[in-house]
Amino acid sequence: MVKIDAKIPEGPLADKWKNYKNNQKLVNPANKRKLDIIVVGTGLAGASAAASFGEMGFNVKTFTIQDSPRRAHSIAAQGGINAAKNYPNDGDSIYRLFYDTVKGGDYRAREANVHRLAEVSNSIIDQCVAQGVPFAREYGGLLDNRSFGGAQVSRTFYAKGQTGQQLLLGAYQALMRQVNEGNVELHTRNEMVEIVMVDGKARGIISRNLVTGKLERHFAHAVVLATGGYGNTFFLSTNAMGSNGSAAMKAYKKGAMFANPCFAQIHPTCIPVHGEFQSKLTLMSESLRNDGRIWVPKKKEDAEAIRAGKLKPTEIAEEDRDYYLERRYPAFGNLVPRDVASRAAKERCDAGFGVGTTGLAVYLDFKSAIDRLGRDAIEARYGNLFQMYEKIVDDNPYETPMMIYPAIHYTMGGIWVDYELQTSVPGLFAAGEANFSDHGANRLGASALMQGLADGYFVLPYTIQNYLADDIATPRMTTEEKEFEEAENAAKGRFEKLMSINGEKSVDSLHKELGLVMWDFVGMARNKEGLQEAIEKIQAIKKEFWSNVRIPGSTGGMNVELEKASRLADFIEIGELMARDALHREESCGGHFREEYQTEEGEALRQDDKFAYSGCWAYKGEDQEPELNKEELTFDVVKLVQRNYK
């Protein structure tokens, strides 16, 4: 086991970031021009980082698999972004945001990182407003806030139901301004497929041009991965189709540790699965829980009649409805954190009270809100979400309750980073959902956007300088060097190997098999036997993949199936790592629920004496078991208690 140093600065919690900035090394303007940074990914984290680096005077190259940076998966975030502004004067503060995030994460995040996140949250809102992000406003012209799952204050800023879109467009526009000024070189439809290491440091990447199929070599003094989360391991998730974990896997195989892979978030409010041809799950924003009430029938026979199509939800009398979240958690009601809400839905459905044709759905009902506030007010708040729901399901949520069910949504785990967001590979940094840093075992709503932009606008621009300051004398390398050639050959060999399999099964069919195993055994509720079985099953899928996948076409030119196959190969390995991590973590915390560890009332039961650490997995070679390292978590400020939302 290696000793893990998170490089947390000295001093009291509230001063650490200030102390860090006061003492860090800087790079002067003339030297910045001599230094190259590669940013892989142009979501909130990547675009904000690349734009900021460009403004500072570094030479930046940025890569995205989509045809434009504006299409990164961040675009889909609906609900909002948190900040500790306390504009509504409801008692919020940096400390409270910090505290809520650590508690919400079930005490599995690093205090120092989370405090810094809360500190910079306010600057994010200022920055976005200055960029022209059209946040919602009140009649007085000032910014509007709302409350969001797991918080008792209103600290969420939003732009209709399209907050991620507006924040990403702000960052994208800042990025395009730097492209225009020649500080950033943009590579679209271009996928990083290998990291180039020189003398133990990350010094560049090999990418595949997705239009021509050609492999390209790119040098940089430092590389940032901002490539998003790995939720698509489950095949069906709320993530965009292209979201993938491949860049993280490439880093892992080059020596970057992968932390807490089993911490995946299941979102309680998604449109239920409706058929086997389904390609993705659609999230209904959590903000709906502010006004919607969640229920299932109290009587089993009513649930059965609904499933058979003989009864409508609107025909069920008030006293025959079980508003189970309000019943179980009177203090937070429908606003309990996501993991709690998800498990409660599963519990009711497993007990036979589920609705919809499959029985795997619960109601989210707006009737009392419409009665209280009027249809117009509800339409103003959620109009586009209601429209989206109706287009998909062909049901009118103003008249009949929505149906929802949990789905995989977000991955808290990811590439391990220290306080500086540097991975265990020198010169390789990770930001946004791709890293594991701030959310512990469960992320609060509206905190991913905050973290992505914090990393990109306000953390990396400082910390990367501290690294690069030692590199000012390192000249640009030519990509003719042997390290680049070897990395390119490795990537080439892998693609050729994939093409040569020429088997019988499509990529998607194998991905669906993996997804089912993940959902059944590594999903909302896990246990020892199930996880052991999952590992065996995933290894069998891996074998099947490498001997029987069929990829039409060739490595030259655009080949969508080849792209998908290459990502699936990595998802299979991530899946196994998730199962291993879940198996080793003999406790329940946040998004990780082990059936063996629960209270009598069915709540998650942590084992702080044994598991108050981040599990950091190190790659040990093909078909070798990975090694578990532990970053012990110390809590100097927050007192560990069992979360209680009653």
């Binding site: 904000s48 989509q66 299409r71 059209p134 058929g275 306000f458």
Partner: protein, 251 residues
């Protein structure tokens, strides 16, 4: 309870940017009307792969109408027959049993075909790079509430900012003009005090870039507004013209 339909597809196939394209015909049976249009194409592709043929290449990502990646000209309409939705939000319940569905890429000088149904919309990025932003650096900005903005302006800016950059407006326009797209960004920023400062310059630079990249002139046919999945209004073009004229006046 599930309804299914049989359909015939006429799909544009083109091996590469320079290759000659042609229509290919496929028949699909028992397609659930609850499936989305892109799921229907997934089913087609699964069948093609199982036969050892190359699947149809099409762009998509979020599949919930927000990333702007999906495109497709379906039976003569960008994003198909349903109103106010993108192709990925289109469902097969909008089609009839036995129907023939023709699927083409966006066709416009500004968007060259890359493969099959995929086109290159890089021109939109270039137009944004020409001025579609507020020129502020990270840090050193005032408090977010320092400047009150009347709610109607903020709301109107939000409506303009809803553009997803899909390019349907260009595909719908007989002149291949990108005016609706450009005007949406110019309007959003002109409506906000933060963006107003550079309003005239922005309009001029973005329009010049659009012209340079081979997009046609706007002759106010209004086809773009009808096909825009996000309801971006023609009023934005009027506002762009005002900004543009004030830029000219300043020259």
């Amino acid at each position: 309870m599930e309804n299914t339909i049989n359909i015939k597809l006429k799909v544009w196939r083109q091996a590469g940017p320079k290759a000659k394209g042609r229509f290919e015909t496929f028949e699909l049976k028992n397609i659930s009307t609850d499936s989305s249009f892109l799921e229907m194409l997934d089913i087609l592709n699964e069948q093609l792969i199982n036969k050892g043929e190359e699947p149809v290449a099409f762009d998509h990502d979020c599949r919930e109408g927000i990333c702007g990646m999906c495109s497709l000209y379906i039976n003569g309409r960008p994003h198909g027959p349903d109103d106010d939705v993108t192709t990925c939000q289109l469902h097969m319940r909008k089609f009839k049993d036995g129907q023939t569905i023709t699927i083409e890429p966006w066709r416009s000088a500004g968007f060259p075909v890359i493969k099959d149904l995929i086109v290159d919309r890089g021109a939109f990025d270039k137009i944004i790079a020409a001025g579609g932003y507020v020129s502020v650096n990270t840090g050193g900005v005032p408090d977010a509430n320092a400047l009150p903005i009347p709610k109607p302006n903020a709301d109107e800016a939000m409506d303009a900012a809803s553009c997803i950059g899909c390019g349907a407006c260009v595909a719908a326009c007989k002149n291949g003009s990108a005016m609706l797209f450009v005007s949406a960004k110019v309007s959003q920023l002109a409506l906000l005090p933060q963006g107003k400062v550079e309003g005239a310059r922005r309009a001029k630079n973005m329009v010049a870039k659009m012209d340079e990249l081979g997009f046609g002139n706007c002759t106010n046919t209004g086809a773009c507004e009808v096909e825009c999945p996000k309801g971006i209004s023609l009023a934005n073009i009027a506002r762009l013209n005002r900004e543009f004229l004030s830029a000219k006046a300043q020259d």
